[in-house]
């Protein structure tokens, strides 16, 4: 069973539907105990970084941190990826998980913000999450803040400079784009996650 963590930030219908389309058994939950029982964890997110404060307040952050340490595969989407970093200038008082040691910041002025639409990935070939997803594949993005390129970045995208489109270190994974809205290639990524050994 995959736990989709509901932290009351937007609409989870699309993520649930897409994971079910790749034959995942999913449960949407805000209960830390359900998260601790899950074989895999997905943290979706559209909305403000401040909404992730809910995770700390409800004991979900501790539950997720414990399970990640135990080796449970974790996938963060959009704000869910940014939450894996130390924090974001969008909400400086809210701490992220800190699995990736860097901070997210707003795109520099001089271009349209938010970054909305289909943009291409440059993919690192050793990624398990992005197996079978070639460089040049387009994914659907919608965000105003982005994570810098770090050691664990496995895909970058260009929008006024490179940013992290996907990061991965062992069982900890995140994507800035929306695989649930990125057509066949997006579903491929979700299937890769669903099929990871637990």
């Amino acid at each position: 069973m995959i736990a989709i963590v509901d932290y009351k930030a937007g609409n989870l219908t699309s993520v649930v539907k897409a994971l079910r389309a790749v034959n995942a058994h999913v449960t949407v939950t805000e209960d830390p105990e359900a998260v601790r029982r899950a074989e895999k964890i997905v943290l979706p997110g559209v909305g403000h970084f401040a909404a992730t404060q809910f995770l700390a307040e409800r004991g979900l952050k501790d539950a997720i941190a414990d399970r990640i340490k135990a080796g449970v595969p974790f996938l963060g989407v959009c704000v869910g990826l940014q939450w894996l970093f130390n924090g974001s200038t969008e909400a400086p008082d809210v701490n992220g998980l800190g699995a990736f040691d860097a901070a997210c910041a707003r795109f520099d002025e001089g271009r349209k913000i938010p970054h909305v639409g289909w943009n291409a990935l440059s993919v690192r070939e050793d990624s398990r999450l992005l197996a079978g997803v070639p460089t040049g594949s387009f994914m659907y993005f919608t965000h105003s803040y982005r994570a810098p390129v770090i050691h664990d970045t496995v895909a970058v995208t260009e929008y006024g400079g490179h940013f992290t489109a996907a990061a991965e270190r062992e069982n900890v994974m995140g994507v800035q784009f929306h695989p649930e809205k990125s057509g066949v290639m997006g579903l491929r990524i979700l299937r890769n996650f669903v099929e990871l050994p637990c």
Binding site: G10, T13, S14, A18, G117, L187
Partner: protein, 253 residues
């Protein structure tokens, strides 16, 4: 590089597509779910379902239509037409839409933009503006272009952005239905005035019109309600033609 988007629009009344597209090998050309899936497969970057049902009874049908359409779609899906309250928006999101488009109701009560945005995120709110030229400025119209509001298009677009709109869907009433090309001047004036993406609509007649509205009109996306009416096989062919003009397109798609 961020690609420009081609958005397929389905006009739906009482659960049936009323104009738009004709695929030769499709069983039921009026079924929104089937058509949307077909568009997605053929390379459309997004789907907009515009409900033009006039009656109250038809609203229940809409939610069912949205649910059936969303079930098979894995690209962004917007629903517009008759969304007047946060409750209307919630029902459509719950049925599987990713974004809603609001028009007249947002003009009547602009707070609606922020209400939907704070609940579902700014990226989920598109403000649709129907503009008509009046001398050297363009005025906002409502009720399907029948009623003037006295508001300037650029000014209302700026306010919509400030109130938390994620995108602007700009329809030129002058160009709509002419198939003589988009109103690039009007589109550029709005695109220059706001930071959020602008979707151009109205006037598409051939692939060159799309290239024009991207390059000269500075549009971030363009709506194609009936591209298949003028002899283009599918979105992929359209996008290949636009790409040849140097516009970044999602290809292969």
């Amino acid at each position: 590089m961020l690609s420009k988007r081609i958005i397929a629009c389905l006009d739906v009344r009482d659960g049936r597509v009323v104009k738009g597209v004709k695929f030769v090998d499709i069983v039921d050309a009026g079924d929104p779910a089937e058509l949307a899936a077909r568009h997605a497969l053929s390379g459309a970057d997004e789907i907009v379902l515009l409900d033009i049902t006039a009656t109250h009874e038809g609203r229940g049908t809409l939610i069912d239509t949205v649910r059936r359409t969303a079930r098979r779609l894995f690209i962004p899906f917007t629903v517009g037409g008759g969304i007047r309250t946060l409750g209307d928006a919630e029902a459509v999101f719950e049925a599987g839409a990713d974004k809603v488009s609001v028009n007249s109701a947002a003009l009547r009560r602009p707070e609606l933009i922020g209400e939907i945005g704070s609940r579902f995120g700014a990226q989920a709110v598109i403000v649709a503006i129907d503009g008509r030229r009046n001398g050297d400025h363009a005025e906002v119209f409502v009720e399907g272009g029948r009623k003037a509001t006295g508001r300037g298009v650029v000014e209302w677009a700026r306010e919509a952005e400030q109130r938390g709109a994620g995108e602007i869907l700009l329809t030129s009433m002058d160009a709509d239905g002419t198939r003589a090309g988009f109103d690039c001047e009007l589109t550029a004036s709005v695109s220059d005035a706001v930071q959020i993406p602008v979707i151009a609509s109205g006037g598409a007649g051939n692939a060159a019109h799309f290239s024009d509205v991207f390059l000269r009109g500075k549009a971030d996306a363009a709506l194609a309600a009936s591209i298949f009416h003028f002899g283009i096989a599918d979105a992929r062919v359209l996008k290949e033609q636009i790409a040849r003009d140097g516009v970044p397109m999602r290809l292969p798609c």
